[in-house]
C-alpha cells in the first residue's frame, strides 16, 4: 500500500512536469493551424472547422528565404555536433589515456570552459570574426558553437573513456593496432552511447540560439531559422500565423535528430557493451 502511494505520487509529479514542459509546444502547434482571429480570441481552444487555417504554413513555405534559413540552421547544427563529437572524443582520449606534462592543466582549462559562458566574449568574438572576414558566414557560427560545446563534451567523454577497461586497449596494442586505429576502431564504437548524450546536449542550444546568429550572421541570407522568424515580428504588427508555423516546423528537425540520438543512447545503455 505504502509503495503504491509512493509510486502514485511519483507519477503525479512526473505527469505534472510533463504537462508543464509540453504546454508551450502544444500551444504553438495548436495555434499554428488557427486563423489569426482565433489565435487572439481563444488562444487555448483547439481548432474547429471554422477557425482552422493553414495560412501561416502557406506564407512560410512560399517564402523561399525561410527554406534557406532552415538549411542554414541544419548545416550549422549538424557540422557543429559532428565537430564537437570528433574533436571532443579525440581530446578526451588524449587527456585520459596519455600522461604528459601539462595534462592536468589542460583538463582544468577545458573544465573552466564549462563554467564561463562563452557569451561573455561576444565582443571579442565579433572583432575576431571581423578580422578574419567571417562575418555573415556559417563558418563563424560553427566555430563559435564548436568552442562552446567542446568543454562539456570532453568532460563527459573522458569519464566514459576511463570506464573502458585498460585491458581492451592493451589487447588492441597486442593485436598490432596503431594508437589512431585503437581510437577509431575500439574507443569510438564503444563511446557511442556517450556520444549520443553529448550530441543531444550540444545540439539543442545550437539549434535554439538567437544570440550569435544575431551578432555574427544577421544578414546576407545566412540567418538561422530562429533569427529568420524575427522577420515576421514587426515593430507594429506581428504575423503570428507565420511565426507559429515557422516555430512548429522548426521543432521538427531537432525532434528527428533527438530521436535518432536517443535511440542510440538507449541501445548503448541497455547493451552492456563492456563486461
Amino acid at each position: 500500500m505504502q509503495r503504491k502511494i509512493s509510486a502514485l505520487s511519483v507519477h503525479i509529479i512526473l505527469l505534472a512536469y510533463t504537462a508543464l514542459a509540453l504546454f508551450p509546444i502544444v500551444l504553438t502547434l495548436v495555434n499554428s493551424v488557427k486563423a489569426r482571429k482565433a489565435i487572439f480570441g481563444a488562444p487555448l481552444a483547439l481548432p474547429t472547422p471554422s477557425t482552422f487555417s493553414l495560412i501561416g504554413y502557406q506564407k512560410v513555405f512560399s517564402d523561399s528565404a525561410v527554406m534557406g534559413y532552415y538549411v542554414n540552421s541544419l548545416t550549422v547544427t549538424v557540422v557543429t555536433v559532428a565537430a564537437v563529437l570528433l574533436i571532443g572524443a579525440m581530446a578526451a582520449w588524449g587527456l585520459s589515456e596519455y600522461r604528459f606534462r601539462g595534462n592536468t592543466l589542460l583538463k582544468l582549462f577545458f573544465a573552466i570552459g564549462i563554467m564561463v559562458p562563452i557569451r561573455l566574449g561576444s565582443v571579442e568574438i565579433l572583432k575576431m570574426m571581423t578580422h578574419l572576414d567571417l562575418n555573415n558566414t556559417l563558418t563563424a557560427l560553427i566555430l563559435v558553437y564548436t568552442a562552446q560545446g567542446l568543454p562539456l563534451s570532453i568532460f563527459i567523454l573522458s569519464e566514459f573513456i576511463e570506464q573502458i577497461p585498460r585491458d581492451l586497449r592493451e589487447a588492441a596494442r597486442c593485436d598490432g593496432l596503431s594508437e589512431y586505429s585503437i581510437f577509431f576502431w575500439i574507443i569510438l564504437p564503444l563511446l557511442r552511447p556517450a556520444m549520443a548524450t553529448v550530441a543531444v546536449f550540444s545540439m539543442i542550444p545550437v539549434w535554439n540560439d538567437l544570440w550569435f546568429p544575431l551578432i555574427l550572421a544577421p544578414s546576407g541570407g545566412k540567418q538561422t531559422i530562429t533569427l529568420g522568424i524575427q522577420q515576421f515580428i514587426g515593430q507594429y504588427i506581428i504575423d503570428w500565423n507565420s511565426v507559429l508555423a515557422a516555430l512548429s516546423t522548426a521543432i521538427i528537425p531537432v525532434l528527428i535528430l533527438y530521436m535518432l540520438f536517443s535511440r542510440q543512447l538507449i541501445r548503448g545503455l541497455t547493451s552492456g557493451a563492456v563486461k
Binding site: P165, D167, L168, E170, A171, A172, R173, C174, D175, G176, L177, S181, W185, I186, P189, L190, S271, G272, A273, V274, K275
Partner: protein
Amino acid sequence: MAEVRTEKLCKSYGVAEILKDIDLTVEDGSFVVLVGPSGCGKSTLLRTIAGLEQSTTGKIEIGGRRVNDLPPAQRQIAMVFQSYALYPHMDVRGNMGFGLKFAGFPKNEIERRVQEAARILKLEALLDRKPRDLSGGQRQRVAIGRAIVREPEVFLFDEPLSNLDAALRVNTRIELAKLHRMLKATIVYVTHDQVEAMTLADKIVVMNKGRIEQAGKPMELYYHPANLFVAGFIGSPAMNFIPGRIAEASDQSLVLQSDNGLRLTVPRQIWGMAAINAGDQVTLGLRPEHLKVTTGGNSAGQTGAIALSGTVDLIERLGDIGYAHIRLGDGSGAPLVGEVRGTTPLDVGDTCSISADNEHLHLFNAEGRAFSKIAAKAAA
C-alpha cells in the same frame, strides 16, 4: 616457437621497485607459471615481456632477439587477459580475426585460421555471436582463440581462469594443458592459484616482492623448497613451521628447542655436512599431509624421525580427509595442522601423537634459507 629470456630485468615506478634483477629463462615449448601473492610483480613481469610496460633496465629476448624496444605487436607474442578483453562491439569471428585484418592478411587466410582455432576450441557454432551473448567459459575460449590465430611464438596468460567459477576452472585448466600439448607452444602463465601452477607447469617460478624466490619443476618446489617463503606458498594447507634454536648438535643428531617449549631430536644425516651448529636460530618445516597423527599421547609404536604429542584444538572434516589443528608444547605459536583420515576417531580435546619421516623434514636457517638435503640431489 621460441625461448624467452630476461637478464637483470628491473622495473620501477619512481622509487618503488616492482621488479628487481629478474633472470628468467623460459625454454622453447615449455609451460612456465609465474606464481606469487598479489603485488609480487608477476603480472608486471608478464606485461613487461609483452611490451605493455617498459623495463627500467635489463634485457628481454624472445627467440634470441632483443625485444626491449619493440612494440607488443612485433614481439611475436599473444596475450590472454584476465578480463578476456574481447572487443564488445565485434562478433566472435571479428574478435579473433581483428589483429590479422590489421596485419594485412588476405581474407581467406584470416577465415582459415579463425575456422581452425574455432575447431580446436569448439567455437564453430558461436562465430557470429557477440561477446555479451557468451558465457564466461566461452568468452575465455574466444580470448584464447584470438591468441591462437596470430600463431605467436609465445603465449602470455594473465590469470586467465580467475573469473571462472570453480567447476569451469577445473575444466578449462585441463583444456589448457591439452592445448599446450597440441600446440607445443611456449607459454608464460601468471596465476596466484598454486593448484593451477602445480598442475599446468613444466616450471614454476615463485615470486615475492619483485624477486624470484625459486624456479623449478613443480615437484622440486614441493619437496625441496629453497626457503621459507616457497615452503609456505607451495602446498595447501600451508606447511607448518616450528621456530626454535639448535640446543645440541652432534654428528648423529640435532636437538631442536622450539620457542613453544618442545624438545625435538632429529637425525643429522638428512642434511649431510651442512653447517648446523648449536645455538643457531632455525625453523623446522612439516607439511600437514606428511604427518601421521594417531590417537593417544603415547608416542610408542610410532615410526619416523620425530615424535610429538599435542591436544586437538579443532578438526576440519572435508569428507575423505580432515585437518586436525593440534596445540603443541605450551600452546603458544601457531597450531600444527595435520592431515587425518576422514573417519579418524579423533575429536576436539583429545590428546594425539604425531610423527613424520626423515625425508619430509625441512630445516631453514635464520635467514629463512633451507639447508639442502642429501636426497635433494638424487630427486632433482
